[in-house]
């Protein structure tokens, strides 16, 4: 049997904390490929090099990518319809 070649979406927490002040791994997103709703923590994350690629656990389509260069980060939410982000007061 193949070794698991991805991590769960909690692997996004550290890299995304450079960009967002909130922990967005608990945000609920809708996959643009199949309409599945779930938290970013449920995504399947490939990488980290050449970039993090987070895929839907339902249809395996790419939900987001994160590329970190020396001076910039590129966050691409190509497969996400929306993100519902819990905000605690």
């Amino acid at each position: 049997m193949d070794q698991l070649d991805y991590q769960d979406g909690n692997a996004l927490a550290g890299p995304l904390s450079e960009i967002f002040t909130l922990d967005v791994t608990t945000a609920v997103g809708t996959c643009a490929g199949c309409g599945r709703r779930g938290t970013l923590a449920e995504l399947r994350v490939y990488g980290p090099e050449p970039g993090l690629v987070a895929r839907c656990p339902g249809c395996e389509e790419v939900v987001l990518t994160l590329v970190r260069g020396p001076k910039d980060a590129w966050l691409d939410l190509r497969g996400s319809v929306s993100l519902r982000i819990p905000i605690t007061e």
């Binding site: 070649d5 490939y46 050449p50 970039g51 895929r55 395996e60 910039d72 980060a73 590129w74």
Partner: protein
């Protein structure tokens, strides 16, 4: 007093004029993955070249194997900074595959089983610069390295050498691929260190 360790003297052992700027030499063959590894049965494998004018040229595995084969030995340069020298491949030159293809297109988009894409100018696929390869180091190409067949364009960073190649679409305008839309450079010349957008 000699308090500086010998390890800090002189040039790095990997220094070589064949090593592009910012790269280091490896002797293994790292596998980088952006998704699950596709498993493509040979009886269902096919490779296509689609022209901008709407023609489709298609090869089955048997037809592809019957084409003239070449055995290029090339250096590989990955954008994640490792380089590997003297890798041996077997496959078909894009010059052979493009022989009967007529198109005025200037751009190409390679697309793969599994959905990966990467773009490059068509001229970078021609004149002995690119192959569709199916053997590495005398063995059939393993799925982890892009088997049954992958694109090999060794003069550009390795993300341009699409694994699990399914076809090449010829286009009249440039259409950035998977990593090119996600922050990586549109062309990816290792000698000019074109890693990210804006480099």
């Amino acid at each position: 007093m000699g308090i500086i360790s010998r390890a800090f003297q002189g040039r790095p052992r990997d220094h070589d004029e064949n090593l592009p700027p910012g790269q280091y030499l490896v002797h293994d063959f790292p596998v980088l993955s952006a998704g699950p590894t596709p498993r493509v049965p040979l009886d269902r494998w096919e490779f296509s070249i689609d022209t901008a004018e709407g023609e489709v040229h298609r090869w089955s595995w048997q037809e592809f194997q019957a084409l003239p084969q070449e055995t290029p030995t090339v250096d590989l340069h990955c954008v994640t900074k490792w380089s590997k020298f003297g890798t041996g491949w077997k496959g078909v030159s894009l010059d052979v595959l493009m022989e009967d293809v007529e198109s005025a297109a200037e751009y190409a988009l390679a697309y793969s089983y599994g959905g990966y894409t990467t773009n490059l100018p068509l001229e970078d696929l021609l004149d002995g610069k690119a192959w569709i390869v199916h053997e590495y180091d005398g063995e059939e190409l393993a799925p982890a390295h892009g088997g049954p067949a992958r694109l090999l364009v060794p003069h550009l960073y390795l993300w341009k050498s699409a694994k699990w190649i399914k076809g090449i679409r010829l286009l009249n305008e440039d259409w950035p691929g998977f990593w090119e839309t996600a922050g990586y450079h549109n062309y990816g010349d290792p000698w000019r260190e074109q890693r990210y957008q804006g480099d």
